[in-house]
């Protein structure tokens, strides 16, 4: 009985990520396939690339990538082919263009904005428009000293 449970469950168990039989003989092509796989999403998984995924569909995609590479496609051609079949959703690095420019430039823009704002603030601070010489009134300084004493 136990043996049976074993068999049943194992037959239904999902396949493993990159199987030995998938690996291409040409190490250079295989390396390219692995690199491409890192950037392709397993469509039925949650946030997994096809290289790491156990799903059947991921295996199909891995084989497809290798098929195209063996047929002589360049990396871009493989990606274009897969996007034309499965849509932009399959890419883990979104394409630069259209509305995605917001995604790509929001971070750098924020960084520049923050640098400018901080620069202005620091200039204000170092220009020293202050009430007293040290920036603290006497009783505030006394209190601060009291707090910081220990």
């Amino acid at each position: 009985m136990k043996r049976l449970v074993f068999l049943l469950v194992f037959l239904a168990a999902p396949l493993w990520a990159v199987q030995p039989d998938e690996v291409l003989d040409d190490p250079e092509l295989e390396a390219r396939a692995r690199a491409l796989s890192q950037d392709l999403r397993c469509l039925v998984c949650r946030n997994e690339n096809i290289d790491d995924s156990n799903a059947e569909l991921a295996r199909d995609l891995r084989l497809l990538v290798r098929e195209r590479l063996v047929a002589g496609d360049s990396d871009e051609e493989v990606i274009d082919f897969i996007v034309s079949r499965y849509g932009e959703y399959v890419l883990l690095t979104p394409r630069r263009g259209g509305s995605n420019l917001i995604l790509y430039y929001a971070g750098p823009a924020m960084f520049i904005f923050a640098l400018i704002a901080a620069g202005l603030y620091l200039r204000g601070r170092s220009a020293g428009r202050v009430q007293s010489r040290e920036g603290l009134s006497d009783d505030e300084q006394a209190r601060l000293d009291e707090i910081m004493k220990d």
Binding site: F10, L92, G107, G135
Partner: protein, 656 residues
């Protein structure tokens, strides 16, 4: 009966939380001492009621009371006791109850240790904390009742998700929640200060231990989660930029920023309004994290509760608290003008740079996490933002942070000279360059990641050591090290920890080696100078699972290094397979073996990885947490110590 009592205690708690929100706030506004003092027994009662409720649920899990629906869904009699208990928070409802428990625990701790805070401030802090508690209790009671019964009671349960039956993951959520919820204290302090209308050096000092504690817990929680992913998911990844990981990482980054900016408030009375804003946003991101995880709005491995009603409720909590606090901030922020003056080149400026880098990193993680949602909503473009994008966008900022950190950490307050600091760090810089160059020479034709990462790590670790040494005078340096305040030690240990983690990440990503093959019993192969031999594969039975276990021997020049037993487990009740990788952990490398499926032509699929410096990633995280803990134990930061002294001083009426 016990379950009903637990439910009842929670309802009582909700009522107390509502009172806790209103009474102390009115008391503080009207200067009625009795009403203000309500906050103290209020906080205690909240904690005791929630603790009772949580204990009742735990009891139901321990005795496997399957008439409670949640127990039936997430437990099984054959499960080891440890996982029966951790099953309490291995699900949506129970984990929310844990969240509330921690909220009330922090509230009670503020009441216990906050004796030195000005009474109005303390009353307001506890009231704000009470309002957050009330909101989450309502969420639990109305949308996620953990005490729901089943009639008739089933004979046995459906078992906890096997992935969660693991020591690493069992304690990952409590730490994470201690971190998330710990940030609620910083939020409560910020909102209370805004109501009060004053933020001063003392406030900076009071808010620091809470932020520090929250950050330490968050660090441990994230570290545990990452470590678990490393050994459990079967290929040794440690970070996936999954939306839920990001949900914990954003508050972490902001907590780091908050830690550093509150130092400026404390020491220099500057950056006050920014620090308050940061405290609000940091907790806002904790709430956003809860929303992302629980609503399932962004598909993710972790979204175990996908329910629109819950999502809307959480969005409401997020909107009301963050929005409300930001509005209050908009009205009141002007009252908090900066006092300290400092030059462009100074510790203050360095900490501003730290805050920019961390806040912008958090923003990048935010936009990457939310972009698939925004893009589909506004541009009708369904797309994914995955690890490659995050790595490319996030890494440059961390490199800048690593470069600037040792310099900034040693700059003096108010006015500094870069030349003087760089003079002190010259040796460290040469050392770090040598490490980078050596790395570059040893590796051939690979990416720049390894040398750059190791350079940065050496620069950070060396910088931390130089920082400590520079505290002593010439000749008596070592003697003084022992007498340095623990906060100084904490700072250096944590900074060195960041360096260790950076080295680990760079080493692992740059030099990992992988091997995939079919092996028969007795086969062996070479990987990175090691010989790996498959001895046998056997079926083994565990307490609530069946397992296929491979026995491997790892040899190096003929000598046995270790025996490894990777497993493929199946949990029949949950009907789910898991992999248990076998790892030979070493200081400089891990050997990671996974056994896969039986092959048609005989033999087994075997995946083996050589992972250089893998353990440094978590070693660094442990150092960072240790640094935080050291700092927390510094007598200067012990809650209320500084406060008791100021109490006498600040007799005046706050500006309102």
């Amino acid at each position: 009966m016990i379950a009903e009592l637990g439910h009842f205690a929670l309802v009582m708690g909700f009522i107390v939380a509502l009172l806790q929100t209103v009474v102390p706030l009115v008391g503080a506004a009207r200067r009625w001492p009795g009403w203000m003092r309500f906050s103290e027994p209020g906080a205690n009662a909240l904690f005791l009621l929630t603790a009772f409720s949580f204990a009742a649920l735990t009891y139901a899990f321990v005795v496997s009371d399957f008439s409670v629906k949640l127990v039936w869904l997430n437990s099984h009699t054959a499960k080891p006791m440890l996982y029966k208990i951790t099953g309490v928070w291995g699900n949506h409802e129970g984990s929310m109850l844990l969240w509330v428990l921690i909220l009330t625990l922090f509230g009670a701790m503020a009441a216990w240790f906050g004796g030195g805070l000005p009474p109005t401030l303390r009353a307001r802090i506890l009231a704000v904390q009470g309002s957050i508690t009330a909101a989450f209790m309502a969420f639990v009671l109305f949308t996620s009742n953990p005490f729901e019964r089943l009639n008739p009671a089933p004979l046995n349960g459906q078992d906890l998700n096997p992935l969660l039956q693991d020591p690493g993951l069992a304690f990952h959520p409590p730490f994470l929640y201690l971190g998330y919820v710990g940030l609620s204290m910083a939020f409560s302090f910020a909102v209370a200060a805004l109501i009060e209308g004053r933020v001063d050096a003392a406030w900076g000092r009071w808010v620091r231990p809470w932020t520090l504690a929250a950050w330490v817990f968050l660090t441990v929680g994230i570290g545990l989660g990452s470590w678990w992913a490393y050994y459990e998911l079967g290929w040794g990844g440690f970070w996936f930029w999954d939306p839920v990981e990001n949900a914990s990482f954003m508050p972490w980054l902001l907590a780091v920023a908050l830690l550093h900016s509150s130092v400026v408030v404390e020491k220099r009375e500057s950056l006050k309004s920014w620090t308050v804003l940061l405290a609000i946003i940091a907790f806002g991101f904790s709430l956003l994290g809860a929303f992302i995880t629980r609503s399932g709005i962004i598909t993710s491995v972790h979204a175990f509760a996908t329910d629109p009603e819950r999502g809307v409720f959480l969005l409401l909590i997020l909107g009301v608290f963050t929005g409300g606090a930001l509005m209050l901030y908009a009205v009141r922020a002007r009252a908090m003008e900066a006092k300290g003056v400092f030059a462009m080149v100074s510790r203050e400026s360095a900490l501003v740079l730290n805050n920019i880098l961390l806040a912008v990193s958090a923003f990048i993680v935010f936009i990457g996490t939310m972009w698939p949602l925004f893009s589909e909503m506004f541009f009708d473009r369904k797309l994914s933002v995955g690890a490659p994008w995050f790595n490319a966008s996030f890494t440059p900022l961390m490199v800048l942070l690593g470069l600037a950190l040792p310099l900034g950490a040693m700059l003096p307050w108010k006015r500094g000279r870069l030349s003087r600091v760089s003079g002190k760090l010259k040796v460290v810089f040469v050392f770090a360059l040598a490490v980078g160059a050596l790395t570059f020479a040893l590796q051939s034709g690979r990416s720049a990641l390894g040398p750059v990462g190791l350079f940065l790590g050496a620069w950070l670790i060396g910088g931390a050591v130089a920082d400590l040494l520079s505290r002593g005078r010439k000749g008596e340096k070592l003697a003084r090290l022992g007498k340095l305040p623990r906060a100084d030690w904490g700072k250096s240990v944590a900074h060195a920890g960041l360096g260790v983690t950076m080295m680990g990440i760079a080493g692992l990503l740059a030099w990992e080696q992988e091997d995939i093959r079919v092996m028969q019993d007795g086969d062996s192969f070479e990987l990175a100078g090691y010989t790996i031999r498959l001895d046998s594969v056997e079926d083994v039975q565990g307490p609530n699972y069946l397992s296929t276990q491979g026995a491997f021997t790892v040899l190096r020049s003929g000598a046995i290094v270790s025996q490894l037993y990777p497993e493929k487990r199946v949990y029949p009740v949950a009907g789910m397979p898991t992999t248990e990788a076998a790892i030979d952990s070493g200081f400089l490398r891990d050997i990671y073996v996974v056994v896969g499926d039986a092959q048609e032509g005989g033999g087994w699929a075997v995946r083996t990885y050589f992972k250089p410096l893998a353990n440094w990633i978590w070693g660094g995280a442990i150092l960072m947490a240790l640094g935080g803990a050291l700092s927390l134990s510094d007598r200067r930061y012990r809650v209320g110590v500084g406060a008791r002294k100021t109490d006498r001083m600040s007799g005046g009426v706050p500006a309102e």
